[in-house]
Amino acid sequence: MEVFTQQLINGITLGSIYGLIAIGYTMVFGIIGMVNFAHGDVFMVSAFIALVTLLVLTTWFGMGSVVLALLIVLIVAMLLTSLVNWTIERVAYRPLRGSFRLAPLISAIGMSIFLSNFVQVAQGPRVKSIPPLFNDVIVLMSSSDGYDVSVSYKQLMVWAVTAALLVAFWFVVTKTALGRAQRACEQDQKMAALLGIDVDRTVSITFVIAAALAAVAGTMYLVYYGVISFADGFVPGVKAFTAAVLGGIGSLPGAVLGGLLIGLIETMWSAYFSTDYKDVAAFSILAITMIFLPQGILGRPDVEKV
């Protein structure tokens, strides 16, 4: 029971990170019908931006307050990652809109290779680690054999930031003019354009929002695990995509739900079976979902029109 509760806490933390990345996949897929293959690498780039910003703040300016430093790191990472993703969309995807179906996907794969190798060349191939931040834990349950169930401040921070940003994001998508434009473009780009919506701008903003959420995930990942390397984009990216598919691609609550499920499955699998095959489990879920439940848990079935 204690092990289960502890894994539940760990799983939800991991799942929040996956959920934040998954929203990026699901939004971009919803609006332009493209699997943004480079999104996992954008997440990795954002973690590196957060790393550099954190080092600048702590070693150069000697900032003492960790909370304030993290807040600044979060904002800087969100801004710069948004800029990166905006540029990627302009350079690599926009010229291919309206081209044949696979072209943007191939371009995104190229971008993914480029980004991970760019970081490898620019920052070196070694794993970067930061000193642990907030190590304190709150013990929730103590069992007689010495196994404590605890939640760390780090985990609480991940939950709080994820929840706050999801609320803000949900507000933007459902209540603002921008969100309406986005949903209109999702349904019918041509009609939206006829009604005076700047489709290009809306797509750009979608990429910016996706990147900002990925940057939150990247910062959380860096703080939570304390390590990042250039190769850390691919596997979290595929898992987050799995989460988006599992929840129903195009559905925003679905992405979060899928992220939490994937995070829980992964931690439970590691705890009860073997860590060797935890990635196999995630990939198998992807394949099984695609084959038996292609519309996902909360998605609408895809009607094929001639």
């Binding site: 590196f48 291919l96 371009s107 760019f118 920052q123 060797d276 394949a287």
Partner: protein, 472 residues
């Protein structure tokens, strides 16, 4: 007079170009500031510290700004003027291009055949191993993989991002069977192909209801699962350590070694490792040509026509009574089989295999070759393989760049960086691939030939005009 009229306009252009360059520079500065401007390095206490690289950042931003400025000033007006000009119809260019197309294939084939003796005579016995092995054999492996995947992606239109899994199946089947049972290369080559095809059917069966992007991601997942199993199933595959001392192929029973029974001794030549390299070169050339020949013949059979019809429109296909499941399965199995051949050749050539050789990156490279070459065009795929693989191999040879950039400059680490960049660039420039026009697979005999000349005028937009020749 013309000049006077254009002068005020050019000043406006200059101002606009400057403004665009400034904005681009600002964006580039923001993007590169954290990752180029700062470098994170570990000091002796194993702590991360920052180093700054302001000159590099300034140089990069400067290059980008100047590039944008020149583009806005010179390139953009030229492109605009070109877009205004009416496009030439079947002019001299088309005739010239058709003639080039006719001669290019025999010339390329001839060059591929005489390449090893040519390399031998130019750089001698010592240098030739590198040129034949690193360039010849390496490129031909990718040409073969590209042609194999071309059946799945180019002809049947199914994007397979896990193709390298079948390559791995071929390589591991050869390595394991040859080591455990001591079977010969010539027996195991077809067997490895069959096993890979079997896996193709096995993996293909559940995913064939999916279309487009979804299929791509599921095949990616399968490719990764196979790789992870290879890593974790240590008793059989030896995990990360891989399998070493795999038996090398023999010249129909005669081994390539220094013994009296060896190839060189039997022919009365002095022993040299180059003979095996040359043999491997011709072996992979023959395998690749078999792939091409089979593809060309299959395109004329009903199954090949069905593949291409499937690529164009799946719903129409189904309404015409084509069994789409079987059609897709055969394409999958056929592509997997050639990957299996290539895999067993790879294992035999290397003598050592490990899961590191079968990462997703390999799949991406093969897909890139097929798509960049122009899906469905054998010549285009071959050209793309030469450019992408030869280009990245040549990066290893650019030692003179050390003189320019200093001794710490290592061109090889930029290989995949440039590879990814080239993928994006070619996609944006020519979304349909280098050779965009497909040769029609069927023609009516009285259809005017000129209108359907292969390698005809460029058609960058949408579908190339496929011939309306699928007659009764």
């Amino acid at each position: 007079m013309v000049q006077e009229a254009s002068r005020p306009a050019s000043r406006v252009d200059l101002v606009r170009a400057l403004r665009e360059a400034a904005i681009t520079a600002l964006i580039a500065f923001g993007m590169f500031l954290p990752l180029i401007g700062f470098n994170t390095v570990q000091n002796i206490h194993n702590e991360l510290v920052l180093e700054t690289r302001w000159p590099l950042l300034a140089a990069l931003v400067g290059i980008i700004a100047v590039g944008r400025f020149l583009y806005a000033l010179l390139m953009a007006p030229w492109l605009a003027r070109r877009a205004m000009r009416p496009r030439k119809q079947h002019g001299e260019g088309a005739v010239w291009r058709a003639r080039l197309g006719r001669w290019l294939i025999p010339f390329t084939l001839g060059f591929a055949v005489v390449y090893p003796p040519l390399a031998l005579s130019v750089v001698g016995f010592q240098g030739a191993v590198k040129w034949i092995d690193n360039f010849g054999v390496q490129i031909l492996i990718y040409v073969m993989l590209g042609w194999g995947l071309n059946i799945v992606v180019g002809l049947a239109g199914l994007l397979d991002l896990g193709y390298v899994a079948f390559y791995a199946v071929g390589a591991y089947s050869y390595a394991l069977l040859a080591k455990t049972f001591g079977l010969s290369f010539w027996l195991l080559l077809p067997l490895a192909g069959c096993l890979a095809a079997f896996w193709g059917i096995l993996l293909g069966f559940p995913v064939l209801r999916l279309r487009g992007d979804y299929l791509a991601i599921v095949t990616l997942a399968f490719g990764e699962i196979i790789r992870l199993v290879l890593i974790n199933w240590v008793p059989v595959t030896n995990g990360y350590a891989g399998i070493s001392s795999i038996p090398r192929p023999t010249f129909f029973g005669i081994p390539f070694n220094a013994s009296d029974e060896g190839f060189a001794a039997r022919l009365g030549l002095e022993f040299s490792p180059i003979y095996r390299t040359i043999f491997l070169y011709y072996l992979i050339l023959a395998l690749a040509l078999v792939t091409a020949a089979v593809t060309l013949r299959l395109r004329r059979l009903p199954i090949g026509r069905a593949w291409e019809a499937l690529r164009e429109d799946e719903i129409a296909c189904r309404s015409l009574g084509i069994n789409t499941t079987n059609t897709k399965l055969t394409a999958f199995a056929m592509g997997a089989m050639f990957a299996g051949f290539a895999g067993s050749f790879f294992a035999a050539r290397q003598g050592f295999i490990s899961p590191e050789s079968f990462t997703f990156m390999e799949s991406a490279v093969i897909v890139a070759i097929v798509v960049l070459g122009g899906m469905g065009s054998l010549l285009g795929v071959a050209i793309a393989a030469v450019i992408m693989i030869g280009g990245t191999e040549i990066m290893r040879e650019l030692d003179f760049l050390k003189v320019v950039f200093g001794n710490e400059f290592d061109p090889t680490q930029y290989r995949m960086l440039l590879f990814g960049f080239a993928m994006v660039l070619i996609m944006v420039w020519k979304p349909r691939g280098l050779i965009a026009t497909r040769e029609p697979s069927a023609l009516l005999s009285d259809y005017p030939v000129a209108a359907t000349a292969p390698l005809g005028p460029r058609s960058d937009v949408a579908e190339p005009p496929l011939v309306r020749g699928h007659g009764p």
